[in-house]
Assembly symmetry: C2
Homo-oligomer: 145 residues x 2
Amino acid sequence: MIRHRGEGFTWDGVDIHPYKETGTHFKSIHRQTLFPGGYDLPVELRYFEMAADGHSTLEQHQHAHLVMIIRGSGRVLVGDAVTEIKEHDLVHVPPGTWHQFRATNGEPLGFLCVVNQERDRPQRPEERHLEVLNADPIVAEFIRY
Amino acid sequence: MIRHRGEGFTWDGVDIHPYKETGTHFKSIHRQTLFPGGYDLPVELRYFEMAADGHSTLEQHQHAHLVMIIRGSGRVLVGDAVTEIKEHDLVHVPPGTWHQFRATNGEPLGFLCVVNQERDRPQRPEERHLEVLNADPIVAEFIRY
């Protein structure tokens, strides 16, 4: 039983971590691991939150994400589509799919994310990937890297 | 991308099912499967909701549940402890642990539940289990079966 604290989105005994150790390809975002995997569940449950105007890294990888928004709203790039997201929307990020979350609506954006415990490292876009992404003006306007 | 409808807790393209096909050991509860498993995620994500005064089945099984409350409040039995639960609390139901959720606070209780795609069938209490459970007056007052 892990109790939500009721002030902000924090939980008893759960540490707030930097999103990633290093980098300038993300902004105003932190990470909490709510469940590290266990029992017969080989998955982690994490909570990510970005402040208004924050964003996650533009990246892809071979593992999937299953995301449920539980705080605020914003927009997400998945593949070549930029979509509005709000509380309780569910977002699939399939393997090998470029994705980036942004808190674009002047409020925080927080979400649960289920991933396999064993997973590959994210890949950031190279110049050739950015050329493809930037070919679509809506994607070009949206992405931060 | 599965969009939350914003009225009640329903999602586009997600059917609302009876909690279980038969039985009188649960009350005013339904089930939605938000993610049936896929990619490298061998888990299902379900949403359960009970109306005020509803409850899930008192049961145990060898698979685990990872539960996050996302609507309302109530109480839960896990093992031999009855605990108040509210929005964004996280509940571990380890293998082989008696558990029952109840919407005891005059409002609905809704939660996300992560389970392995492959799992054993739940077991309901036999007389000998009920004797043990009912030996604790707090548990005895709480359980419905």
